[in-house]
Symmetry: C2
Subunit: 275 residues, 2 copies
């Protein structure tokens, strides 16, 4: 599977309107866009996908509602349906992120670009708020996000903080990290706090050990921009990957999630924000 | 001059209502209370005092308005008057803080408990918002302020940041510092940002060098709690002492300010704040 790069959307003439969420989804579905979604449809909310069998869906919703900083719930689908009309028109959630992880009994068995061969009629999709949405808001207000400048995504870390368990779901809080100047850390705190739908305010900053993170070089999944330069602080936000981690640990017979940085692009406009 | 201690107000039977700003002012004026004002009248706004000759008053107001984070203007008096009815009833600003600094040509010449022998009919008093007000709000919301637990006040530092000059007034920004856990630093940022009248959000945090502070042990004036423990971050707010510094540097023939931690106690109620 190609994971593309965040710059892909900036190439000359991508052949579709990169600002239009419906055009982005169609381009992904037809294989014409294979990049990360963080730099397309930037005026629209994006989300994590977590699909679980129907007999675990209520417990997963309970888990999300008990841990709203990590798992702000944007939408829940119906069993056997691959659309969620409340958040996106003409959505095929099994094809429109362009990258998936398929777990069986907690083991990652496939990372297809199209999940429809693996979809099952009892799967219930959940869409969970994502930091790509607040990154767009931060940039509107002049916060410098160096990981984007470097063509990377933010690093994630497993913390030593327990989430609130529900049914078979539990485990540690996963966070995303951005390296910011002190002034930008303060500005980013104030802006993100106004958006609980995309994780809200940071959960910690400045001291990785406050979250039990011993080594910033060792990120969750190994990817993302991990370097903090002199004059910068690491700033940590609760991350939707917390849900992926919980689903994996619950060893459900089947679960399907989006793949790294290939998010559900919705038609929900990003809120206006006047800092 | 006795500078008292922050615990003084907590002693058994101080002989006056320590929660009532008018009773506090009267006790100070009559020499019955000589402590710091940070733990009395905690539901009321307190302020820095800076009194300058009338021919410099408009320039000083311009300076304050050009640097509102450091110098949020709460009140301005009239030449020759020692009351400011808009902020406090029955105020004698030359006696009611209980501690003053008298500057002649920029030199500190006296630190009296009563400034009335030094007052002049052309002096115009300014009252500037003070961090004691936001400290009370922070504590209401469960932010731990270790310097208060240790019977101390916050440390201040001269930074390498220039203020916006006006007339003879200018110079570097002075900040106050509180050592906070990361979670409290985030909470304190969100709460203080809602109160621009008491300096608003922090100007920096985590990295003293961001403000050109080479050594936290060397505070402005030498006092205050300077230690940052493992698990804490230094958090820096713009400070009203910036104005005192500017007045001193302007070498006015006469200027009178409050003395460390002896503030103008006003009748303005602290705003409600729902975090």
């Amino acid at each position: 599977m190609s994971t593309g790069s965040p710059q892909a959307a900036q190439d000359a003439d991508p052949g579709f309107d990169t600002a239009d969420p419906r055009a982005v989804r169609r381009a992904i579905r037809e294989g014409r866009f294979t990049g990360f979604t963080n730099l397309v449809a930037r005026n629209y909310v994006q989300g994590n996908l977590i699909a679980v069998p129907a007999d675990h869906a209520d417990a997963f919703e309970d888990y999300a509602r008990a841990n709203p900083e990590a798992l702000p719930l944007l939408g829940r689908g119906e069993p056997g349906r691959r659309d969620i009309p409340a958040i996106a028109a003409d959505l095929d959630i099994a094809r429109d992120t362009g990258g998936y992880m398929v777990f069986r009994d907690g083991e990652l068995v496939e990372t297809p670009r199209d999940a429809s061969p693996f979809w099952r009629d009892d799967l219930v999709p959940f869409v969970i708020g994502c930091s790509f949405s607040f990154e767009a808001l931060l940039q509107r207000h002049g916060v410098r996000l160096r990981h984007l400048e470097e063509g990377d995504v933010s690093a994630m870390y497993e913390t030593d903080r327990d989430t609130v368990a529900a049914g078979p779901f539990g485990g540690k809080l996963i966070v995303s990290m951005r390296a910011l100047t002190p002034a930008d850390a303060i500005r980013a705190t104030l802006i993100s706090a106004r958006h609980p739908g995309f994780h809200g305010a940071p959960v910690s900053l400045g001291l990785p050990e406050d979250l039990g993170i011993a080594d910033l070089e060792r990120s969750y999944g190994g990817h993302g921009m991990k370097r903090v330069l002199p004059g910068e602080l690491p700033v940590f936000w609760a991350c939707g990957a917390t849900g992926q981690n919980a689903v994996r640990a619950a060893r459900l017979p089947l679960a399907i999630t989006h793949y790294k940085a290939h998010m559900v692009v919705t038609d929900l406009p990003l809120p206006e924000d006047y800092a």
